[in-house]
């Protein structure tokens, strides 16, 4: 009998079911409340499509559609292939992929990257004072900055 419901659902929704069959369906639903609940869900979901329906006069297009399509085709044909890399969607995906990559890398380093470093060692590194010759002072004077950098590099070379 439930095959009967399924078989008649589409015609019922389109309103093309004969009176006799419609009455039989409704009688069946009255006797099976669980099936009736599901049936009512189908009716509700079908009603959601209503705003998408378009009348024939609304669907009329201006003449020359084919010519406009071919213009579009020509436009796309003349667009260089690297334009695909400049599309916002591509850039968004690229940024997302980079972020994912950094997140994965960060997670990997957090989980496996600590190696043998114990908290004590880490602490000593943090509290360690830099050697005087490595103490680079950067200011607004470019010449001084350069000299300071050179001094550090020379000290490192030794």
């Amino acid at each position: 009998m439930d095959d009967f419901l399924r078989d008649n659902l589409e015609e019922y929704l389109s309103g093309t079911l004969s009176d006799g069959k419609r009455k039989a369906v409704e009688a069946h639903l009255a006797a099976h409340p669980e099936a009736a609940e599901e049936w009512s869900g189908f009716l509700d979901s079908a009603s959601l499509f209503e705003p998408l329906r378009v009348g024939p006069e609304e669907a009329e297009q201006a003449p020359g559609f084919y010519a406009r399509v071919m213009e579009r085709v020509e436009e796309e044909r003349s667009t260089p292939f690297w334009n695909v890399f400049l599309r916002p969607a591509f850039v968004r995906q690229l940024v997302f992929a980079c972020l994912m990559w950094f997140a994965m890398l960060g997670a990997y380093v957090t989980v496996f990257g600590t190696g043998d470093a114990s908290p004590q060692i880490a602490e000593s590194i943090v509290t360690e004072q830099p050697l005087p010759e490595y103490n680079v002072r950067m200011g607004t004077n470019l010449l001084e900055n350069r000299n300071s950098m050179l001094a550090v590099l020379m000290a490192a070379g030794d």
Binding site: D3, E34, L52, A59, F65
Partner: protein
């Protein structure tokens, strides 16, 4: 909920699972497609003329803006022009075209959503107040907003079914095709179409209950 499904005959369900191989390559439109694949522009024109009206009405039904619908329809056919060589006859041409059309609409809605967010964030407080007080806007807002809201909700639900189910539902509910017509278009038998639609509808109801929204 599963009361109807539970007693579906095994034949009907298996019938949908063991779909008959449809010989789309032997269909009358196959010759036109092959000519189009070979670069025949007259064949492409034939395809455009044959499908443009349906494509436009599906797109217009979703976006409800003539200029945008025209633009999307052009984009759909330009896409078909460039990708028809890859069409492998696994479905009918119209099903393939409808899939492209619906996907383009999803793309459009996504872009529109982003554009709206950017626009709203760019509005100053005064602009926003002026817009709110606008008489015309107030007059139009309830029905247009409600329709957009319902449309967005439906598109969200439709994203939960397969492309094939989505196209079947749209052809049935929006174009008003009968099961018999769908069977002719797809080359499947009527019982298979009924089972497919039934499953698609079940998925919609399930998705709706998941989203917690009222269906109507």
């Amino acid at each position: 909920m599963g009361a109807i499904t539970a007693t579906l005959s095994a034949d009907a369900v298996l019938g949908a699972q063991r779909e008959p191989k449809v010989a789309y390559k032997e269909s009358p439109e196959a010759e036109v497609i092959r000519r189009c694949q070979g670069g025949d522009e007259a064949a492409f024109r034939q395809i455009v003329e044959q499908h443009r009206s349906k494509v436009f009405s599906i797109i217009y039904g979703i976006v409800r803006n003539r200029n945008d619908a025209e633009d999307i329809a052009q984009q759909v056919f330009a896409k078909i022009y460039f990708s028809i060589k890859g069409f492998d006859f696994r479905s009918s041409l119209s099903t393939w075209i409808y899939k492209i059309s619906v996907n383009e609409c999803y793309d459009y809605l996504r872009k529109q959503k982003v554009r709206k967010l950017v626009y709203e964030s760019d509005l100053g407080e005064d602009d926003a107040r002026t817009m709110e007080n606008s008489e015309v806007a107030a007059e139009r807002r309830p029905s247009a907003a409600h329709r957009t809201e319902r449309r967005d909700y439906l598109m969200k639900l439709l994203s939960k079914v397969t492309e094939e189910e989505r196209v079947l539902l749209i052809q049935k509910e929006v174009e008003g095709r009968t099961v018999q017509e769908l069977a002719e278009i797809t080359g499947l038998n009527e019982n298979t179409i009924k089972v497919k639609l039934f499953r698609a509808r079940q998925k919609l109801v399930k998705a709706a209950s998941k989203f917690g929204g009222a269906l109507s």
